[in-house]
Symmetry: C2
Subunit: 335 residues, 2 copies
């Protein structure tokens, strides 16, 4: 166990500036690879041969961008640790490796399926973790030119100019999940077993969506159900205030480190997706970064009608979600 | 019954130019109303009082933009008919009103829930229909600055410069729906009855998503399931090639007129969501604009491995979807 690490405010600010530029540069490379596949790309560049499949191209983009980010960090901050999706997928283990040391937790390409199909909801995700906590997050979605960023103590931002959430102090709906936009993902686990994650997820989606009297009285009647295919962008839109609730299992720390930093700095709450036994009274703890189970509630203001504080209303929504969802079965070693 | 109408190529080109500019202007108004709600909007404008709720603001934006579009069309083309979402919702009937005369079919704000929550997937949708066929479509999503447009015979375009689909002649996956991105919407009908549309939809989503051996052998194992909350943008992304399949019921002609024009001009296929009795041999007919039941397949190229033409592969995918989905129960008078 290494001792807790200290980084000065000035140094953190410098790391943040570096991370934002890194995110922009990395996203630009992703977009260049994407555009090279377009019918009439104006660049005249031939990055690939006719024989390269979409999957080959995506793999190359993913690897090239991770190498680009890793090299840039190693050059600037040789003592920092680096964890990337590609690092893991080539290694033998999926053990949780983040300790107190300054650690970059990076997904060079989140929303891989979207990128393969050229659906704009893909992005680069760069998180900086100190003492186990994500303190800087940079998410850049180059196809829609949306940059989300945050540094602990310095606010969360859209395109560096608009503070997140977009609407300040907006109360959560008094009868949540009614009135809430729920963001969820179908994921890759498609086993058709009643006790598999696919059915557990869909059962939960249905309960959140159904009319108030339905589903044994648990119908949540959310305002809308959204699935973007990118955990990272789901979190970005929670920070923005566009998604009230994100409930998901199965993703990894590199998918969420940047997003959690941005949501928390914007004033949102992130805890576990799996309901405790006593959903109404169990303490609501901050999420563990490597838990693979996430429930995020957007930033909020107090609810004047009831005198509820922002935090109280977020906790109320957490419990209303927990009442309606099933346990998901994703485990990991070492977290 | 009015006789078939004729409009010259030059006149159609002029109408197209007018429609594109109208879409841009209308989208800009939508965005202005959205930004007026932001915490620190830089415009210094106070479009609303503190007392206005998000719903009041959205209703005002919707109505103002429809009026703006309607007035512009009446001034420029006083003989053309106009049908807008707001026109319908204030009228007594939802009868299908589109005949052979030149008719503008407009949704001033598609993705209303997204707009209310400031999630970027909202847009203006302007369709121009002649002899019952959508021949011009303009979709503008101002938050992501994406403009989709098409005019019969002149191609489909992203931001007026990039031809759609982004990748030309891309074959559909040989084992579709495997390898396909499926776009669907949960909709507003949330009745918790086994024979209601919510359960019919979710059953169908599950069959499309489940592993190949699952769901009685029908598991479709699609590459991803997406829900954006905007029928109009779903169609735009089908035209782009990003979504392979869009399956939906319950929307109206103003939600889809522009999108269908763009998908068809890009080379996509749009037919009915509800499977016929003989899914494998029934003729595949072009969708009726007011049918409220839509199945769209993206533009494609021939599949060299089997010698299948683009149209043949699209029809194959239609039948594979029909094999896996349930009938939806949306009717309408007069269509």
């Amino acid at each position: 166990m290494t001792a807790a690490q200290h980084i000065s405010d000035d140094e953190l600010a410098e790391i943040y500036t570096f991370a934002v530029q890194l995110g922009k540069d990395a996203g630009t490379i992703l977009m260049k690879f994407a555009q090279a596949r377009w019918s009439d790309n104006g660049t005249g560049e031939q990055l690939f041969t006719e024989k390269d499949s979409a999957v080959d191209i995506v793999t190359k983009a993913d690897e090239d961008v991770e190498t680009f980010i890793k090299n840039a960090i190693e050059k600037k901050y040789p003592t920092h640790k680096f964890l990337g999706e590609e690092t893991y997928s080539k290694g033998a283990s999926r053990a949780y490796l983040i300790g107190p040391a300054p650690t970059w937790c990076v997904d060079p390409l989140d929303g891989t399926v979207n990128y393969t199909h050229l659906f704009p909801m893909f992005c680069v995700s760069i998180g900086f973790v100190l003492n186990g906590e994500a303190v800087i997050g940079v998410i850049y979605a180059p196809f829609t030119s949306q940059l989300f960023s945050a540094c602990k103590g310095k606010g969360a931002w859209l395109n560096e100019t608009q503070r997140l959430p977009l609407v300040k102090n907006q109360p959560l709906p008094p009868h949540a999940p009614q009135g809430c936009v729920l963001s969820v993902e179908w994921g890759k686990d498609r086993k058709d077993a009643q006790d598999g994650n696919l059915h557990r997820k869909v059962d939960s989606f249905l309960t959140m969506a159904a009319e108030p009297g339905g589903r044994g009285g648990k119908g949540g009647m959310v305002h809308g159900v959204r699935s973007l295919g990118s955990a990272t962008l789901d979190l970005a839109y929670v920070a923005m205030g566009a998604f009230d609730i994100w409930w998901e299992g199965g993703c990894w720390e590199w998918d969420v480190a940047a997003g959690i930093a941005i949501v928390q700095e914007a004033g949102g709450l992130v805890t576990t997706a799996n309901p405790p036994e006593d959903t109404q009274n169990a303490p609501i703890e901050d999420v563990r970064l490597g838990s693979r189970l996430y429930l995020a509630i957007r930033p909020a203001g107090p609810l004047p009608a009831t005198g509820e504080s922002a935090r109280q209303s977020q906790e109320r929504v957490v419990r209303e979600v927990w009442r309606r969802v099933r346990h998901l079965d994703y485990s990991r070693p070492g977290a």
